[in-house]
């Protein structure tokens, strides 16, 4: 695929995708060791979606995320130290330890929060898009949501609303073909989810969500459409999660062959291939980047582990302004 991206931008994308992958491997490991409470929903395998889309966003643009939100947060510029501290419930974490994996947010970076409620994000994304339009900021509101979430009423209400008022929004469907333990085709009567755009009279596209350059290009058009006042776009990214619904747990119901086939389409390998072909990256330098990122994640783990827990008095703070 041809691209307008220069080598610096491409390397930045590669590094961000590696960061998401390594973060998720670490989070998965720590969850297995019961060092992280509750549940983590890992984004490994879907990195190209978050990175391809967020490569067009400024700090003033916003994203609404999902329960599988770590990748969105990193791609939007989130700090892995603060994320890991949050996963451990520490006071230095993004939400002072009050939210955890499913609620990481950074309002300053335009990250309106991961979300524990499937379909919780789209209406909020509409609100952020409306505010951008109202205030004339030129900002764009991106809503990430899973294939499963498109069966919630809130998703449909939000698309109609955004379409009606030409709001500067991009609705990204991460179609990883499963919702928990049920395949997408058992949850909906259509499998090409971008077809739903027709119901709202907005453009809809499906792209290869494992190819960050393809995502980048399609998202670029969608973001530009939103920014120039031409309303929302529905962008379906065809992707796959490499692990089970939560953590790296056993009992994955997805067929072994299906998993293996998608593993062959690892977004990191695909981008790496492009970078090597263009002589932007050698196998060796890719390994060096991975090692640097691993060190960064190790430092973040140390930071998180050494960080203090919240004071008990914080239990009753932050409820009202």
């Amino acid at each position: 695929m041809t691209t307008d991206l220069d080598s610096e931008q491409l390397l930045y994308m590669f590094r961000t995708m590696v960061t998401i992958r390594e973060f998720e491997e670490a989070a998965g490991r720590m969850a297995e060791q019961a060092r992280i409470p509750g549940a983590v929903h890992l984004y490994a395998g879907e990195e190209a979606v978050a990175v391809g889309v967020c490569s067009h966003l400024e700090a003033t643009d916003t994203i609404a995320s999902t329960h599988r939100g770590h990748g969105h947060c990193i791609a939007k510029g989130g700090d892995v130290k603060l994320m890991l501290a949050e996963l451990l419930g520490k006071s230095s974490g993004y939400c002072r330890g009050k939210g955890g994996s499913m609620h990481i947010a950074d309002l300053d970076l335009g990250i309106l929060g991961a979300n524990g409620i499937v379909g919780g994000g789209p209406p909020i994304a509409v609100g952020a898009a409306f505010a951008a339009q109202y205030q004339g900021t030129g900002g764009v509101s991106v809503c990430f949501s899973g294939d499963g979430s498109t069966n919630e009423g809130t998703w449909h209400e939000s698309l109609n609303f955004a379409a009606l008022f030409d709001l500067p929004a991009v609705f990204v469907i991460e179609n990883n073909h499963w919702g928990e333990f049920t395949p997408q085709e058992k949850q909906g009567s259509i499998t090409q989810l971008s077809d739903r755009a027709a119901a709202y009279g907005i453009p809809g596209f499906t792209v290869d969500g494992q190819d960050v350059l393809a995502v980048h290009q399609a998202a670029g058009e969608a973001v530009a459409r939103a920014r120039t006042g031409n309303g929302p776009t529905l962008l379906e990214c065809d992707t796959y999660r490499f692990y089970n619904h939560t953590g790296r747990s056993e009992g994955d119901p997805r067929p072994e062959e299906e998993r293996a086939a998608w593993r062959e389409r690892d977004p990191l390998t695909i981008l790496c291939g492009v970078l090597e072909e263009r002589a932007i990256l050698s196998g060796e330098s890719a390994d060096r980047i991975t090692e640097e990122v691993q060190r960064e994640i190790e430092e973040a783990i140390t930071f998180a582990e050494e960080a203090p827990y919240p004071e008990l008095s914080e239990l009753l703070t932050d409820i009202y302004s």
Partner: protein
């Protein structure tokens, strides 16, 4: 199927979760108008394991995996119930009632009354409540009081495997919408459960420990915390009676009042936020109907007025525990 209504002794021990599962299997066997629907209920047997084995035994007509569409799942139950089916649906976490609250409070709860009694809604809604699992603010709530506040809904909240099965059978035979609230931390608790089908009536509280100095009315997992507290207090010479309402709507006020008339002191305990919780309602009824029997003002314990925090240190602080119950009971009996 034979039905036993009195308590049966048995050596067989199964878990709370297995008890509800067994009730579903037995009712589905005896009544083919029962069907089950919800997210990941069929093939996966539910993320909490409640519907294990149902698909294999009854086939896909009787249990369906639905899209993630809580409004439609709830409406499915309501509409099908009007047509004579007996739906059992699961909304997974009780927190998710927020997604389909219109179907619950404006449709399900009111249909019979608004239609002048013409509708009959024999349906059961399964939901899982409770904190203490590190699942944070949107997956840990105890929202029973919201449901109890809506005329037209019935609400049960068992604490033991025995009651879980008996209440599940009763709920499935009810001609009204019943919310079966399962507490996550009760789910693995084991206890004696007869294999044969039996019912625990709605609106019948259980005195789970007898005592003379104070009554603790506790719900769901708090029953176990209250029993632990009662054990410690017994060592201090304080004799505590523990009452588990089991069903919150209808509420067996009489059993509670009877206990209070005997002990003259009462403490209500629930995991839900204290303000506006069911404990306030129970205490108000006691104040109204047994004021003259009270030697001290009714007390209550619920969670602090905050969403459920994620951090393990804050969550531990948030969730009511037996130490708090012990401390409060000491204060109650000394007052």
């Amino acid at each position: 199927m034979t039905t036993v209504t009195t308590e049966v002794t048995t050596d067989r021990e199964i878990s709370y979760r297995e008890a509800i599962n067994e009730a579903i299997h037995q009712e589905m066997t005896s009544d083919d108008s029962v069907f089950v629907a919800g997210i990941d209920l069929a093939k996966q047997g539910d993320v909490f394991g409640i519907t294990q084995g149902v698909l294999t035994k009854f086939g896909p007509k009787r249990i369906m995996d639905t899209p993630i569409s809580e409004n439609a799942i709830t409406g499915l139950a309501i509409g099908a119930a009007t047509q004579g089916l007996r739906p059992v649906i699961s909304l997974m976490f009780i927190d998710f009632i927020g997604v389909c609250f219109d179907q619950i409070i404006n449709q399900m709860a009111k249909m019979k009354y608004m239609f002048g009694g013409k509708a009959r809604l024999p349906l059961t809604v399964l939901v899982n409540a409770g904190a203490g699992t590190g699942m944070a603010a949107q997956h840990s709530q105890s929202l029973e009081a919201l449901l109890c506040h809506i005329p037209g809904l019935k609400v049960v909240m068992p604490s033991t495997a025995y009651d879980a099965k008996g209440l599940m059978v009763t709920s499935m035979r009810e001609d009204n919408p019943v919310f079966m609230i399962m507490h996550k931390r009760c789910s693995r608790l084991r206890g004696p459960v007869p294999e044969e089908s039996y019912t625990v009536p709605l609106g019948s509280a259980a005195v789970v420990r007898e005592g003379t100095d104070a009554t603790i009315v506790a719900t769901a997992y708090m029953v176990h915390e209250a029993l632990a507290a009662a054990e410690t207090l017994a060592g201090e010479g304080i004799s505590v009676e523990v009452v588990d309402p089991r069903s919150l709507q209808p509420l067996d006020t009489e059993t509670v009042l009877e206990s209070v008339r005997k002990t003259h002191r009462v403490l209500t305990v629930h995991e839900a936020v204290e303000f506006g919780g069911i404990g306030g309602e129970i205490n108000a009824q006691i104040a109204e109907h047994a004021f003259d029997h009270l030697d001290a003002p009714p007390m209550r314990i619920g969670a602090p007025f905050s969403p459920v925090p994620y951090s393990p240190v804050l969550e531990k602080e948030w969730v009511v525990n037996s130490d708090q119950i012990i401390e409060q009971t000491r204060r109650l009996v000394s007052g």
